[in-house]
């Protein structure tokens, strides 16, 4: 078994070799709050990587359901940085153009990043609005909450921004692939 071999599309991920230590105990999957939404819970994903089923792994929705609670990571008896690997898998999927289609979470991430790139900061009401433009049903469902927030003077109607948002826009452009 060699998970750092040539045919492995993840082989350049620095922490990947940690998966060699996995004893398949399932503590990660058992600790995960959203594992039942995943197609392969973390333990299974690691088994697939080790057996070389890369296509299945690249198409997996699992990393997109990671909530970053790090429960798996602190509990793993072999100290595998599970959450960090989920981040790395998402980054890899973006690089390779294999981000799963039709996942609402990817739309939310895109809305978040566009907001940071444009203003340098995130304003929740504005982020929800941006996401809601592509997901009108979600926008309608969240409208009553927005009213309650407004009544308690917690709804920001203007986007927060840094003094010179071009700085962050430039930072985004510089870090696009090949832009460094």
């Amino acid at each position: 078994m060699n998970i750092t071999g040539k045919n492995n599309p993840y082989s350049d991920i620095g922490k990947l070799s940690h998966i060699n230590r996995c004893i398949q105990c399932g503590t990660c999957s058992g600790s995960c709050p959203l594992s039942d939404k995943m197609d392969h819970a973390p333990r299974e994903l690691f088994a697939l990587i080790r057996e070389g089923s890369y296509e299945e792994v690249l198409a997996s929705i699992t990393p997109w359901f990671c909530v970053s609670c790090y429960a798996c990571m602190v509990r793993c008896p072999k100290e595998i940085p599970v959450t960090d690997l989920m981040y790395a898998f998402k980054e890899k999927a973006r690089e390779q153009g294999t981000v799963p289609k039709n996942l609402n979470m990817t739309d939310m991430y895109d809305a978040f990043s566009k907001t940071v790139k444009q203003f340098g900061r995130v304003t929740e009401s504005f982020l929800m609005g941006r996401y809601g433009m592509r997901h009108p049903i979600s926008a309608v469902k969240n409208a009553p909450l927005a009213v309650k927030m407004a009544l308690r003077h917690r709804l920001e109607l203007k986007p927060q921004k840094i003094e010179n948002p071009d700085t962050i826009t430039r930072l985004y452009e510089l870090t696009e692939k090949g832009g460094e």
């Binding site: 959203l34 609670c69 429960a71 980054e91 995130v122 979600s138 909450l145 308690r152 700085t167 930072l171």
Partner: protein, 277 residues
């Protein structure tokens, strides 16, 4: 004492976190020096997009803090804390990523020379609070809620799954801490909009556990946790627990009025915390 403060995007519009932090810090003689022109840290999004971008978003603050004369950055948000802390960890252990990040920042006119220590506002306030509180709330049982990213993955402050620092703090400032098993269970805040139903089940489990163990209110240390636990109760999870910030309870204990602490901004009203029978 002066601290270099990184508020993060959710701080100002949260349910009294800003008001209570400012009031308590003023009373304790802590001066909050906000990082000049701070930007979003990228939270749980950027590291899954592009490592160099995520490191650059965080470390722009490291350079600014240094130019302000600080070697420590303090934040009151768990997501900001874990993100900045993660960037520090990566930059300290990977010279290549440090150089690439430095190069990006140079092109926007920022010089990255060193990485700071990242601390949570909780550490600062819990140390500065006097142990003999002015008011006593011994008859108010509070459930401490740490959320995920204070003690995970970096266990700088306490153990990842079973921390006790918040309970110690509650007892020190005159409240009673309840014993319960949901203090570091994930509430799903980062996915709450997308996976609403699944995350409601997570918060329901947490809140029912707290109420079942006798809590009258909850205290949190993160704007995302506060919002998620508070707003889900308006959607029928069956509990009625006001979700406060630790700074608000510190403020009550110092004799500051609930209104001044922004405690009128919750969705689940909190009068029962300070109303004496």
């Amino acid at each position: 004492m002066k601290i270099c403060f990184y508020p993060g995007c959710s701080f100002a519009s949260s349910a009294g976190y800003k008001e209570s932090t400012e009031a308590v810090c003023a009373k304790l003689g802590i001066e909050l020096c906000e990082i000049t022109d701070w930007n979003c840290c990228g939270a749980t999004v950027s590291f899954g997009e592009n490592t160099i971008r995520a490191l650059s978003l965080s470390s722009r603050h490291f350079a600014i803090a240094q130019s302000m004369g600080f070697s420590e950055i303090v934040t009151g948000c768990n997501a900001c804390y874990a993100t900045l802390r993660k960037a520090v960890d990566v930059l300290q252990n990977d010279a290549d990523l440090f150089d690439r990040t430095k190069h990006v920042l140079e092109q926007i006119g920022i010089t990255l020379a060193a990485v700071p220590t990242i601390r949570h506002l909780f550490e600062i306030i819990s140390c500065a609070m006097p142990s003999a509180a002015i008011e006593s709330y011994k008859d108010v049982p509070i459930a401490a809620y740490y959320g995920c990213q204070l003690t995970r993955p970096h266990q700088d402050l306490d153990r990842g799954d079973h921390p006790t620092v918040l309970e110690t703090f509650l007892e020190k400032i005159g409240f009673t801490a309840t014993s319960h098993s949901a203090k570091t269970s994930c509430c799903g805040a980062s996915h709450a909009v997308i996976h609403t139903n699944e995350c409601r089940v997570l918060t329901q489990r947490i809140l029912r556990e707290m109420e079942g163990k006798g809590a009258k209110a909850v205290t949190t240390i993160c704007p995302l946790c506060q919002f998620n636990l508070d707003q889900n109760q308006s959607k029928g999870v069956g509990t009625n627990l006001p979700v406060t910030y630790f700074t608000q309870l510190a403020g009550l204990s110092l004799g500051i009025s609930p209104k001044e602490l922004g405690m009128n901004k919750f969705l689940v009203t909190a009068e029962k915390v300070w109303t004496r029978p």
